[in-house]
Symmetry: D2
Subunit: 350 residues, 4 copies
Amino acid sequence: MASSLSSKQFVRGPRSDGGAGFGFHVSDPRKLFPPTLHISFRRTAPPRKLQVQAVGSTFGNFFRVTTFGESHGGGVGCIIDGCPPRIPLTEADLQVDLDRRRPGQSRITTPRKETDTCRIYSGVTEGLTTGSPIMVKVPNTDQRGHDYKEMSIAYRPSHADATYDFKYGVRSVQGGGRSSARETIGRVAAGAVAKKIIKAFSGTEVLAYVSQVHNVVLSEGLVNHETLSLEEIESNIVRCPDPEYAEKMIAAIDAVRVRGDSIGGVVTCIARNVPRGLGSPVFDKLEAELARACMSLPATKGFEFGSGFAGTLLTGSEHNDEFYIDKNGRIRTRTNRSGGIQGEYLMGKS
Amino acid sequence: MASSLSSKQFVRGPRSDGGAGFGFHVSDPRKLFPPTLHISFRRTAPPRKLQVQAVGSTFGNFFRVTTFGESHGGGVGCIIDGCPPRIPLTEADLQVDLDRRRPGQSRITTPRKETDTCRIYSGVTEGLTTGSPIMVKVPNTDQRGHDYKEMSIAYRPSHADATYDFKYGVRSVQGGGRSSARETIGRVAAGAVAKKIIKAFSGTEVLAYVSQVHNVVLSEGLVNHETLSLEEIESNIVRCPDPEYAEKMIAAIDAVRVRGDSIGGVVTCIARNVPRGLGSPVFDKLEAELARACMSLPATKGFEFGSGFAGTLLTGSEHNDEFYIDKNGRIRTRTNRSGGIQGEYLMGKS
Amino acid sequence: MASSLSSKQFVRGPRSDGGAGFGFHVSDPRKLFPPTLHISFRRTAPPRKLQVQAVGSTFGNFFRVTTFGESHGGGVGCIIDGCPPRIPLTEADLQVDLDRRRPGQSRITTPRKETDTCRIYSGVTEGLTTGSPIMVKVPNTDQRGHDYKEMSIAYRPSHADATYDFKYGVRSVQGGGRSSARETIGRVAAGAVAKKIIKAFSGTEVLAYVSQVHNVVLSEGLVNHETLSLEEIESNIVRCPDPEYAEKMIAAIDAVRVRGDSIGGVVTCIARNVPRGLGSPVFDKLEAELARACMSLPATKGFEFGSGFAGTLLTGSEHNDEFYIDKNGRIRTRTNRSGGIQGEYLMGKS
Amino acid sequence: MASSLSSKQFVRGPRSDGGAGFGFHVSDPRKLFPPTLHISFRRTAPPRKLQVQAVGSTFGNFFRVTTFGESHGGGVGCIIDGCPPRIPLTEADLQVDLDRRRPGQSRITTPRKETDTCRIYSGVTEGLTTGSPIMVKVPNTDQRGHDYKEMSIAYRPSHADATYDFKYGVRSVQGGGRSSARETIGRVAAGAVAKKIIKAFSGTEVLAYVSQVHNVVLSEGLVNHETLSLEEIESNIVRCPDPEYAEKMIAAIDAVRVRGDSIGGVVTCIARNVPRGLGSPVFDKLEAELARACMSLPATKGFEFGSGFAGTLLTGSEHNDEFYIDKNGRIRTRTNRSGGIQGEYLMGKS
């Protein structure tokens, strides 16, 4: 059986990249934040710079990713440490997923144009990984400085500029760029490598699709998690494998898009052929690591696993995934309310 | 303003502590798991023991907690590393929260009787922390071996015994005990210390209450997050600050309890007076760390922050928390849909 | 071939445990540190307690040890996380090494009497590890408060009390206890477990002996690293496998011991049957991790690997360990100046 | 007072960068390693690539450096995470130290020509750090593929190619490049940033000089650690502040250089104005972290602190650094045998 999780985040809309902005929606930014206010932030910065600050740009223990770069600057990317040696890897392998992430692919995404062409600078020789750190960099092409002029005056509601200014004494245009969707380029590149490894190691497949946009909610049974393919997901611009619902979702996005607004949605992710016994107790258990990873994505506000919040409407006995032994003598569960995770481990495909 | 998050987990019911069991619900365990099957697991164990396994019993960077112990054995507890020196601390400080956690406090919790009396073995001298690791241990009193006899034969559905057996080649009674609610004793002790530190440092308060039990959902406006007190939460056995809803929740639990069943619910947690700028980009951002911590609790299946999943029904412009400057000239937001977190940082109380 | 390293540290002498003291050697402590000075330290403590402090009581990634406890308090020990499951383990396994560490075993060690009886509180069931954290605790028996009375007034030269007081605003008797040799009890217990694992996994053996005491330096060729046994090392109270030199070393210690003084020495450690390819580039390379571990021991002031500092007297071509293929067609090196480590990895026994 | 440590490593000689080679010194590599042997290594690689491997390219907790790149490939560099915001930083700041590291500066270093011109790609805007990760990259210019042809056949003694091949199934030319001195470019860049921070924060200065080359040992008293300046160190090509000994050292290197050989030496490092109380017990104590950092440098075989190995010739009472109070009422020690570290902390300048 496959395990599934879903995390709510904003579907890529005109400003879903967190870098472009609601700025012009603020009635009169100058009233809210007179320059003096800004200068005062600047003033408070110096003492701050002596504080010890936690660092948070690294993820993973064995397969460790460290990302760098902001929406504006020389480029974005990552160092992938712990990749096994002698795995075939080319820039093309990463480009596939980087292109899927890239804004400007269709009318429902941000008009911002980016050509996220990656280059691998280390860790790969003659098409094979060497076991050394893999550094991947994508140059920043579209600087769009002009769009950000007003930000030097106003904070954009629900954006990172205010908080970055409070914390670092710098404006979002630079520092806040870390909270931009462009930071995820390094994650996407690392994810592409990770998918190659787990596919080769255990035939594990990870797929994700849009299961809700605003109030358009894909019905439970319409997607077969056993047979779902990337092609089905990619068959439309909103990436919902059900054509009929895909149309409804696109219509919903178009409706707000023309108003220069955006709407949220839910992404459902499934993992197939997961090695039995994956994960570790207790703080690093799989649910916790997956939740941390998903919630660290910009604009993500919720995460659920298996039955998720709906599970509250079940009793313990209803919620149980009963064991049985299939005709091949393998242990399976008749249901998957625990999302394939029981106790602390993923039981995965039996 | 206060920030809030909610995570769904099973309210303590007859068997919600993950250690007591559905075992007897399995029609005929021996049919499902003939001894031969067990022996085969045992057989496959030795090679497994040479595998490198991730370790996951440690949480935190500056204030680091490492928990130990299972539901059965010499005891449970933790080592708290990184506690500042010269903070007044006694076992009584920890006992308050350990008593709140303890099962057997009322009819709606597991009948299991435990007297979780803690002792501090290091890091505290003459009532003051020394800056050295604080080791806290709670002995295991109620062994209840008799309840677990049958587990040596059957796996309990949706419990950890099967997965522990798959992974470690040991039965849940021992190894699986790590997935028991008793493991959380170490977290509760560490949390009590943490609460003292943040209260002294920045007046920060963290409170949590039950906002849903099965289909009894506490209405939004009924709890004032600005004034909510621990006393209100403790005023009833289900820990819902609204007396009327508390009664409904208790009734819902009683209804299934008499059938020897359990039901799920939602816990809402709020933090007040949070230092502005708390948290770090990008993987360790506050939402991610909180999600990881909550999802690492046994039986927790979902986590949301601020508007959470409901936020999907808002448009970007509706979801914005607009800034304004209050009469004291402080920057505030009129709403708190982002749960107090904007960009990657908690803005907390302005 | 075996690899070897040596680290200089004080042989256990009358006060080598860092906890007992030079205190009474200070001519007139009150002159050095008038009480007022103390009070001023106390005063400066409170602000300090709000500082973020690094935590350093945890070592290791896959096999992770977190120690707790000071020379005075409820006890000392550790949590061992990441121990493979189903490994036979009893308290007796740990007690062997704990007894070897224990002071008061002979006339040349501190007179301090301790009975370091350990107990395992978690992670082991029916004589087998479960894969869960193993908590080991040794109670503190000999409090010797009387010896420390004067310390409440004077700092002991080259001891930790002054620095702990500067840093934490607490006296060495409590906080400084972490720099006492008693802290190493947790390491010894974890090391005993580690030795069982690597012995079972790859037949790897780790042995250490005293190769120098003051100016008594054991000649190079006298110990055969291929055949050296623990029995030879344990054959005398100074733990030098060569009986003749052992006598000289004991005599050197006795000479200063009667004056109530202590002297330093060198411990040489060898590892046999080390798996080829052990270790990781670059910051965690084996030499670096071993150096960190050895230098973190109290009173250790130097570390060298293979040819060590003497290697400076060789030219690059002289220093090379030339490869050859032995009669079994295995790759070996004719010499071991690199201490078995070439590039970043231990080649170990071929 | 200043604290000092010394770590033995090879002075940069014709092949001290670990990337250039002894290869042509091997009498007849083809005899030692027939191609068949190689193929067999290749064969054993695939299973290896599924192993979990430790990752070791990251150093530090608050100020965290992750390096990438090998001697051959697109480039080398690092990501610096945790740098405080609003610190003035330009590429020129890093270039100074990168130029000092660069081979080919004088006749006594490797003839290899490199122009290590760095570029900062993120984390700095308008000459100020933003608090975001700083990615620094230096392109590889001198590929020198021709020098390495024969390495596709032979292992170089005491180099990393054999071990990398054993471990990763790749040849040193690529993977082994991580053990090349070029990997240290990322460390040098990060070190330059670190030096700016500690200088601004606490006026802390870190200086290092060559104190021994082969059998030319600089006498103890000749360098004044209180007044030593970078200019004195840079006044000659061997970086020994004493002109007379510098000449002797250069002569010693020239003597072996003309034979195409290299010799080792000792680098002494001092830190001035170190904040009192720096460091953390117990595994992360300053001596341990410094030892780890130094021993992780290629070709380093020894590390000592304060009195170091020579301290073994002192008795405990001789070794003590006695406290006294200077005319300004500050606590100082009359000697510095403990290298400024007492207990577990650096007391630094009093």
